[in-house]
Structures are given as C-alpha cells and as structure tokens.
Symmetry: C2
C-alpha cells in the first residue's frame, strides 16, 4: 500500500491491481499524483519502469523516477524531440556564452594593453 | 521490408516477425544498426515507439527516432538520471558561464572608466 494514505498507489490504481506492501511503485507514485504515473506509463510502460527501478539502488530510486517523469512529460509535450530538445537548446546556449566570454576576454586584453603600466596597479599593485 | 537491403529491418528481426512493405520501423531501423532498435525497445518498448511514430508527421519521424535512440542510450548508460543528467550538467555550465561573463563585463567596465576618453577609440572611433 502507498506510504501516504490507505488508498492504493497511483500505479496500482491506474493498472487496477491490488497494491501490496512490497509494491515497487508505491513509494514513488503516491495516489495524490496520478499524472506522474500515467505519463511514465504512457512513454516507458509500467514494466520497463519497474525493470529500471529494480536495476537501481533503493536510495537512488526516487531520483530515477523523477528523471523518468521529467523525460515522459517532455516527450508528451514534444513527441519529436522530447527532452533531447532541451539538450540542444542548452548546448547552443553554452556555445553562445563561450563565444561571448572569449570576445569579452579579448576586449579586456586590449584594454589592459592600452593601459600598460596602469594594469599592474589594478592587478597586484605597482612596485618600486 | 527495409529500404536498404532485402533482409528484414532491425525491429522485425529483433521481434522475429515478418517485415512488410508498410512496416513503420523499417525506414528508421536498418538491419545494419541492430543496437539502435534493441536500445529503444528495452527502454520504451516497441509498441510505445510505434505509437510515438504514428503521432508524428512522416518528415519528423527520423528526428523522433534519433531522439528516442539518444534517450534510450543515455538511460542504459545511466539508469538513474538518463539524459536528464546531461541537462543538469549543461544547466550548471550555463550558470557558470553567465556568472563568468558578468564578472568579465564588470572588469571591462572598470577598465573603460579608468581609460575615460580612450574608450571611444576602441568602440566606434574618435571623431573630429
């Protein structure tokens, strides 16, 4: 049975089966969040989710379920790219920021060479 | 049958079924790439992959299959986080780069205020 209430967990409710005390889904799919299970079931299938949970150490199962729920939601929103779309957007953002940082550093170097001696006063102080 | 050879596509070979001319998998799972299908089948299940393909316009199916294959491979490598792990890494990288860029811009502003008039020569040229 679900840890949180006396009603069956969201997975057993969805699959219309008895929720037993050793239910692999119950700790991660409380009845209050029916969509979480419906989403992962629709994208991965209950049996694949169960297999993944069995492969993972108990203390990592919550993270595993949450990452599966994230992937499932992303795939339902964007059936073509799923959360791989987010990866592409982030990769482009990283490239843009790296380029911008390189340009800003180059500007900084130009300023530093213009300032010449004054640079030393800003970084480490002028000596002698 | 697979577009590429006379042998059944990787999906039909894996599922030990006849590969017909209207096979939904054949264009995206050539027999030369058996792992691609094995991976998506293991994580999503053939019937879910087929459902996703039916939902997607034909010209987007190749992208959909490739993103599913990417997600499946990531989940097999990292059963806890899958490709959501890559998203977390990229999000942290974006935050770090944004912070670094802000700091570099602040340095640049300090230099610019030190140089005073000379700034105009670097940006847009000195006129008159």
């Amino acid at each position: 049975m679900s840890n949180y209430t006396n009603s069956p967990c969201a997975a057993c409710k969805f699959l219309r089966r008895k929720c037993t005390s050793d239910c692999v889904f119950a700790p991660y799919f409380p009845p209050e969040e029916p969509t979480k299970f419906a989403n992962v079931h629709r994208i991965f299938g209950a049996s694949n989710v169960s297999k993944i949970l069995q492969e993972v150490a108990p203390h990592q199962r919550e993270d595993a379920v949450n990452s599966l729920a994230y992937e499932a939601e992303a795939r339902l929103k964007d059936p073509v790219y799923g959360c791989v779309g987010a990866i592409s957007v982030l990769q482009r953002q990283v490239l843009r920021l790296q380029r911008e940082l390189e340009e800003t550093n180059a500007d900084l170097m130009r300023y530093a060479s213009c300032l010449g001696g004054e640079t030393t006063s800003a970084y480490g102080g002028r000596r002698g």
